[in-house]
Symmetry: C2
Amino acid sequence: MSSHAAQRPRPRHGDGTPAAPVRLVEVARAAGVSSMTVSRALRHPERVAPATLQSVRRAIARLGYLPDGGAAALATRRSRVVAAIVPTLMNSVYASTVHGLAAALRAAGYELMLGDSGYDREVEAALVRSFIGRRVDALVLTGVEHAGTTRLLIAQHRVPVVEIWDATRSPIDMLVGFSNVAAGREAGRWLAAHGRRRWAFVGTAPEREDRSGKRLKGLREAARAAGLPAPETAFVVDGMSAAAGREAVAALLARVPAVDALFCANDALAVAALRAAHEAGVEVPGRLAVMGFGDFDVAAVTRPALTTIAIPGEAIGEAAAEAVLDRLDGRDSVGPVRRDLGFSIVRRESA
Amino acid sequence: MSSHAAQRPRPRHGDGTPAAPVRLVEVARAAGVSSMTVSRALRHPERVAPATLQSVRRAIARLGYLPDGGAAALATRRSRVVAAIVPTLMNSVYASTVHGLAAALRAAGYELMLGDSGYDREVEAALVRSFIGRRVDALVLTGVEHAGTTRLLIAQHRVPVVEIWDATRSPIDMLVGFSNVAAGREAGRWLAAHGRRRWAFVGTAPEREDRSGKRLKGLREAARAAGLPAPETAFVVDGMSAAAGREAVAALLARVPAVDALFCANDALAVAALRAAHEAGVEVPGRLAVMGFGDFDVAAVTRPALTTIAIPGEAIGEAAAEAVLDRLDGRDSVGPVRRDLGFSIVRRESA
DNA sequence: TTGTAAGCGTTATCAC
DNA sequence: GTGATAACGCTTACAA
């Protein structure tokens, strides 16, 4: 026995200090077995004699024992936690992706740690550092453009990564998304096919938000391919503020009255555009086509109902979870995971 | 030395197995000090000699060392992780609360673990069990109605809890929200004051969603107090589906044409109601007042713009984080935390 | 100011 | 089928 057996007294009920949670050993004592047997009963019940198993289970129930996941993580070097970083939680764009991810992970016994970067790469890098510090088993990142630090941290710590909501030929690791450039291009083709010749893009400036910037790029390509003038742009600072969108569109309509089609970076902006057009006495879709992005819930009930591009957000989350789980369980498929889940134009009334 | 010194070889770069992350001891060796000195340099730099500190920091930077938060959690019995459960992530209602919570926690060095219950108490209970198993330092729960298991688990494990988005006289522990009954009551008063005499409530059935049920309760109280008939009800199964809301309102308008005011459980439903009214040739607000709840982003740009009730969602998240942090840092204020952050009616055009 | 020893609650390993 | 022992990577308590 050491001279300073530091053995802290385990605080118990009623002595004023918080009760220490029940541990494995306590269950073991109660069941008259060793802690390893309890551990086995929990993790590999088939390797434990039925009678033993039963008495262990009874003890667990009686004591209300809940295993300490952190301790297990330390011993196994697997935390069973996955972290995801989305640009924002302030609106519903990424909500269904987070939901799909969380649900699929939880079904497999994993938890989700969540962070929002505010579309800022340095914030994302800080989050990645923090999450790796927590020893998450994998990382889900939105987009394919990241800070150098982010890439470095990931490489150093060899964390499995899934990038989502975009496409690239050189992902960090796994990829589940769709091509934003292609989405912009298809929007343009649609407008051209419907006789629109003077387009404008409403959204955040490309340098502030790379994915909507890529959609603008696609739109420009489509304009060029159709022999039309380059699209006008109405950039907003807050890419989600309806008020800002309304002002930006009002200004645009005043500046370039000839514009006959709007491609908005998201449906919130598109709804704002609808309102601005109405206020300016511009008829939609007659004189102006309005096309949104995201197929938000409101898209179906605006007047006119919004023609928009639907993204399979929940499916992206689920597929990302699947990719992560396959990797973590060594079920790695033949090749590298690179899934393009596509998008679809939802034709309603506004374009 | 024991006969079976199990010392697993630490996998290193280049041998095919994943590299083991750098540990504290490795930094210590590199800096020529003991691991405790490195630990101190990280946590209490002021207790370390400047020269030592510098060499430790250099070693940390050179090796790219990131402390293992899980191991630290085990040693300190503090995980520095807080878990939150919201009813849904599928839409933006709770998005700003989650954002406020995550931001405030992260600023204090805590991470957020997130789950969505789908408005199901048993799912909530399962999440609580899982989160407690991860030894989160505190729990944030939406609403004040919970499964018995939830209360039991919380009591057994003595986890600090903040309930949010509602009010009650007997919270589990801390509470940050507003009174849903009062919100419904104020909506009713507003309608009465504006001469509306035949109201209807559009939303989920009370047994499926207790908070919107409480708003209905408040609305009924207001009707009684004003000597008006009990409000009609148009219940929808999916409380967020615009399509369902549109149908429900269309049916209601056909069934009870005399209805002159709608109080909707959320703005998504209210926007759907606007559309349904328009299709039925019912003028808003002339013949029908429409009042929403939540002040979603779209509320400002619908036609007519939506009169609704604004909830300080982000502030609720921040205040919940503050309460949690005060408790965890022993900064517990005098009394129990019970904060009513209120709500406000936003007058626009629809009512 | 720094170091030593013990322990946080679990699981891997090997022996019986 | 079960148990003893030694980690997992860190911090607390204490000694130097």
